[in-house]
């Protein structure tokens, strides 16, 4: 049964997720993921987000290593960025994806300084979105633990 607390949590959740969209951290693909979650795949979003964290952290380490070499293999760097672009696109992590797009251009130009700067940027954006997603999931879990259901994002007039 719903109570004041659950209502409040749900409102807080909706405000939070709306802000993530407005600020460009997430795009429509994330909503798609939420829609794919159902009785057959009850933890789908958490599963995919966890995979994304694992994958990204590995790739960021690989990128740091690759750009730290005396003779940088830009093809390798580009391959890693391509991967990161793909996975961030699949979960709707828009800002990370956009960073990757810029990053790939600099890989093509073999511009070391810009690549290093892009690496910093993409690390930052990843950290941001990781925090946001962790917060979002925590809010969802709180609602469910209190017996409520996770509200779907709607457009209000």
């Amino acid at each position: 049964m719903q109570n004041m607390e659950v209502d409040q949590m749900q409102r807080q959740y909706l405000d939070y997720i709306k802000s993530l969209f407005l600020e460009g951290f997430l795009d429509g693909q994330f909503l798609q993921l939420q829609q794919l979650q159902d009785e057959n795949n009850p933890d789908f979003v958490v599963e995919v987000v966890s995979l994304f964290f694992e994958d990204s952290e590995r790739l960021l380490n690989d990128l740091t290593f690759a750009l730290d070499q005396k003779g940088i293999d830009f093809k390798k760097v580009d391959a890693h960025v391509h991967q990161l672009k793909g996975s961030s696109s699949s979960i709707g992590a828009q800002r990370v994806k956009n960073c990757c797009i810029a990053f790939r251009n600099f890989c093509e130009e073999q511009n070391i300084d810009e690549c290093l700067s892009c690496l910093q940027q993409v690390k930052q954006e990843y950290c941001h979105v990781k925090n946001k997603l962790e917060t979002l999931i925590r809010l969802e879990q709180q609602i469910v633990a209190a017996g409520g259901s996770i509200p779907t994002m709607e457009f209000s007039f």
Binding site: D27, G28, Q29, L31, Q32, L33, Q35, L36, D38, N40, N41, F44, E47, V48, L51, F52, E54, D55, A79, H82, Q83, K85, G86, S87, S89, S90, I91, T152, M153, E154, F155, F157
Partner: protein
């Protein structure tokens, strides 16, 4: 959102038709950001209106005088956030194609694999996902039970093009053996001609040319992440 009066429709319909066609055929656009087109009519839906709606030129017809609740309801429906009922209606179109189909997804990226699998499963497909061209070849050794294969293009060691070429070669060899009597169809699941639909998954439409995909034996390509409409159009050719 675009609201257009029925009387003005007849004068402006050509422009609106072009807007709609441009959206349907153009580069991938996030459906949530597409403007919705509503027709305002004084009389209930005529056949012409229903046709416009089913073809997708307009999103819905609203009665004049306009009231807030019907506008909100129709807008939410068109965006797909109204309620689960609406989503279920959308599921059935692609679901009727994919229900119970066995699909192989080949992608070296774990996140992409999981998302693709989740998407296809939603429409009732049974999905197996593998992470390399080599693994795909093992899965597609003849005879196999797969109905279709989604193939990532950029993969290390063996890319999607090479994997597809190898799969087609395998199929060709078996098909020739069966045709000339060296082997009988019942050795290969009673299928005397093997050709699994292979669809390339590309990150963007410009990533590789259509020609390149077809030359290595692919049947079509779709962009990833998957989109219901595009997937339906692509899969409808095979199922």
């Amino acid at each position: 959102m675009i609201l257009i009066d029925n009387d003005a429709w007849d004068k402006e319909c050509l422009i609106l038709y072009r807007i709609r066609k441009h959206r349907q055929n153009g580069i991938k656009v996030d459906p949530i950001t597409l403007p919705k087109i509503f027709l305002l009519a004084a009389h209930p839906s005529t056949n012409e209106h229903d046709e416009l709606k089913s073809v997708g030129i307009i999103d819905d017809i609203l009665m004049k005088p306009l009231c807030l609740s019907s506008l909100v309801h129709s807008y939410r429906e068109s965006v797909g956030t109204e309620n689960k009922q609406v989503n279920r209606k959308k599921v059935s179109k692609l679901g009727s194609l994919l229900m119970h189909k066995q699909i192989l997804v080949v992608d070296d990226n774990a996140v992409n694999r999981r998302v693709a699998k989740g998407f296809l499963q939603k429409y009732g497909a049974k999905v197996t996902s593998v992470e390399s061209g080599m693994a795909a070849l093992k899965m597609l050794k003849l005879p196999h039970n797969f109905d279709a294969c989604f193939m990532d293009l950029q993969m290390p060691e063996m890319d999607g093009f090479e994997a597809t070429r190898k799969i087609r070669r395998l199929e060709r060899e078996v098909n020739e053996k069966i045709a000339c009597g060296q082997a009988s169809a019942d050795m290969f699941g009673n299928i005397c001609y093997w050709h699994i639909p292979i669809l390339a998954m590309t990150a963007d439409a410009t990533q590789s040319s259509d020609e390149e995909c077809r030359n290595c034996g692919m049947d079509d390509f779709v962009t990833k992440p998957f989109e219901e409409e595009q997937l339906y159009t692509a899969m409808a050719r095979f199922f």
